[in-house]
Amino acid sequence: MWFKKIRKKKVQSIFIVLILMVCSMLMTSSLVIMTAGDTPYKELTEECGSPIVKIYPFQSKDPVIAEQIKENMEKLDMVEQVEVVPYYYILEKIQIDGKGTIEDYFFHLMPWDDRTHGCIRMLKGSRELKEGQCLISTVLSNSEEIKPGDTLNMGNGISYQVSGIYADPYNMNLSFDSEIIVKENPPSEDLEYQVHVFAKEGSSGDEVIDAYRELNDGILEGKAITLETRIQNNQMTELIVGGILLGISVVILLISGIMIRYMIKSTLISEKKTIAIYKMLGYKNSRIISIYLKFYGFLVVVGTVLGSSLSKVISDSFTKNTFRNLGVTSSSSIIPVGMLCSGIIIAYALICVYLLLRVVGKIRPMEVFRNEGAYSGKKQKNAGKVLGFSPIHMAMRMIFRDKKNTCMLVITCIMATYCVNFAATSMGILEDDNFKAKNYYWLGFDKHDVSFSSADLKTYENTVEKLEKENEVEKVIKTTTQIAVSVPWEKGMGDTILSTMVYDTYENLDMPVIQGRNPAHSDEIAMGSLMAEKMNKQVGDYVDIYFNGNQKVTLLLCGTYQSLYDMGKSCRLLGKTLEEKGVSFQYGEASVYLKEGIEPEKFLKDHGKKYESDGKLIVRAEKYGNILSMISGPSMLAIRPFMIIAILLGGLNIIAIVYLKNMDNRKNQSIYKAIGYSSWHLLKTNISYVFFVALFSMCITIPVFIAAFPKTMVLAFSVMGFREYPVSYDITVVAISNLGTLAVYLLSVLVASKSLYDNPISELTSE
């Protein structure tokens, strides 16, 4: 009996299956994207036997410090082996013969070490390295299309031929410092040292670091990168994309619940007489409910399982790169996640269905037979108000007299409009040019015009002087980020290192703070609000910090600010603070301010070549481009489909609502036709109805969105200490996206109203 209903209710069945399919597809794929890397990463970690922690000593060029760390580490029971490894930091841009230059990423040469590299996963070539050969990571190979046999020129006469491509957990993302493995380091006085720690089975990197600090009064003389942190960071993109998709799928699931309830309700209303007849024939409520439950249950299961099965298409497109970089060919199985998601969605949908079907018990046959086809018995509040019969008047009447339908439509329009505005505004902010133009704000440095970074610290001061003398230059501010500052360690605190911005002055710089101000005196520090909160400090309090891990100083917290730089863990200091405390440092970067009306691009064009040998001059908007791309890239990747899905779902819901409304009103529409109304007039009525509802919804949603969006984003970025999220709304983008959404809604009405042209008036006699 229930199976015949599918044939009778084809359109409704298709809608339910489609809506649940989209929902299940998104939910399954989001979870697959978030978890797909787990097993391959675990397998890679086990296979490679990589160090559990890599420590970059603050005084990286001093082998004695590295040896001290090694010595202390070896005292820990959980540590199996410690090695001090010298490496060569590549300052020049790497040139690939015939294929251009590698920009924006950081690399170092690491000599082959049996313990560290003995088990790395070789994807191409062999582990056997000869002089002049190197092994590169698969992520570098994929990103820059480097193949074995290519030669990498690293400046200063250093070049290597790629002999193999490998994968290991520490070298899966170019946003972090990457290793190029060579047989031996090139001869250099500037070698730096890392400490590689191998732990006994069962110990994590964080446990090792905590134990080390406990043994050394909380002090670690370097920056520790644990294996688990690096793997977590490698999976960041998947986590962001997956998280956004999961959020969308949950919203869709909730809307779907409402939609399905609405569809079932309209079915029950139209089948009230049938149900009454069943009851007259002696069917129990439970028997009638089971007929409908089987029908809807079948649709729910089909839609959900179909969606889960198809989710592979979405998840594979996102995880493709991860698997490629891991050197894994087969994608992960969707079966366990699919089963879990299907279970959740089926349970949710069936509960929605069952709760509504209980209404069957309230249908009393005699009431139905007496009152069949009657409109709601409730007296209408505006019954005395006579409206006209133009499409607009009829639409207004529909709005005021069919409140349930209108509410459904308003909810749908509000949800879809909010999602579209959210996506459009986010895209406006994250769009490459906009995001990079405001890099000073997001990363917390000063709004200058051109950035200079020195290639040779010995010539830095001369270069700055040269820059200051240029006619177009107004001022040059000396800066550096190469200072190691840490805060006092407490157990469970994790990494205590702060990224430090040292300026020779903060006067008259556009460098926003949330509270207080930037440092003006040598005993002052400004901190990222996240760190200040972690340390339970407020502006006006004194904070203890360590230079180079062990030199403790107490400074006045003069201001807090927000920054995405190093996930909000940063601080601002004056150069004279370091000088007075006897901390050895040297400026290596500079913020160049140009005179009014001078374009940075023109300045670079005119003077760029002149400074090529001194270092790198770039437009400020290009500074830290890789960090910003790491944030905006995956978000943009997820936001575009999010926007399309939101509009499609809104359209789909409108089709469902208008279609079902047309079905419910089929007889009324025939009556209208019988008394001289054309199908086009009825179609215009539907269009006006949706237009007014959508317009009303937009009038509510847009101001709410404008008020809520910055707060939502502050909440999302609060993990990085964000307290403000300035948004400048682009009226054109907002207008285009909302008009586009409105157009999709109206198009949906056209699709849903096709039946208006089909229903013949002669149906009025066949009752």
Partner: protein
């Protein structure tokens, strides 16, 4: 000399069901005249309601032509047909077919959108019709708050709103009790007296005697016609006998 208001030329109507063609109306020629109260009778399945829908332009003929005041209405586009239904035709259904979410007054006003009636006169005309049908006390009620008779009188008001050339009625008393049915028939008689052309389908003898002309339909063809003249209540019994004889001759 009577003026022809509707004329048909060899009209046919067929329905296809399970691959079988069912010819309901077969090559039918007929003329309906202005100010006549034409009653179409026939046994169940004879095609009388189908014929009414073809004459009123509610349904399309399979073949043949229908003329309304010498204008061919078969083959007109949907929007042109809608204009004809609005301006020239009024229709009263057996099951009233009022729009449930409109009040009585709104139902009556509903055909007047873009009609030939002046904007300011619409409400006046609707009120006048409602008053004439003794429904003034109920004009702000919804259909489910009205009795069967009230609903049907509302449907008649609606059908008359645009002063149609012809008022069609399909079994207008079929769903009413005898009292309400008589009230509706009295209304039709009064309208006929006022010069309204009416075409009514019925199988009720009491309703059929109200007509000035009776057409009997059998198997989609006209089987006979009876001219009764204008209805007078005191002649009712005589008319009934005459009609009874007419129908008896046709084995009804």
């Amino acid at each position: 000399m009577k003026t022809c208001v509707i004329e048909t030329e060899k009209i046919c109507k067929s329905f296809v069901s399970d691959g079988e063609v069912n010819n309901v109306i077969k090559n039918l020629d007929m003329k309906l005249y202005q100010e006549d109260f034409t009653v179409i009778m026939g046994s169940s399945g004879s095609g009388k309601s189908t014929l009414l829908y073809l004459l009123s332009g509610m349904d399309k003929v399979t073949s043949g032509k229908v003329y309304l005041k010498e204008q061919e209405i078969t083959g007109l586009k949907e929007s042109a047909m809608a204009d004809i239904r609005k301006d020239s035709i009024g229709f009263v259904f057996q099951n009233m077919n009022l729009i449930p979410d409109l009040t009585l007054l709104e139902n009556v006003l509903s055909p007047s959108y873009q009609s030939k009636i002046k904007k300011g006169d619409k409400k006046k005309r609707a009120d006048a019709l409602i008053e004439k049908m003794e429904l003034s006390a109920h004009k702000n009620k919804f259909p489910n708050q009205l009795s069967g008779g009230q609903k049907q009188r509302t449907a008649i008001c609606r059908a008359l709103m645009n002063q149609p050339e012809v008022l069609f009625a399909d079994e207008p008393t079929g769903a009413l009790n005898s009292n309400a049915g008589k009230g509706v028939l009295d209304t039709f008689t009064k309208l006929h007296e006022d010069g309204q052309s009416i075409v009514m389908v019925t199988h009720d003898l009491k309703a059929a005697v109200r007509g000035s002309r009776v057409i009997f339909l059998r198997d989609g063809r006209i089987d006979g016609e009876l001219e009764q003249g204008t209805y007078r209540q005191k002649e009712e019994e005589a008319r009934e006998r005459m009609l009874y004889e007419f129908l008896k001759e046709r084995n009804w």
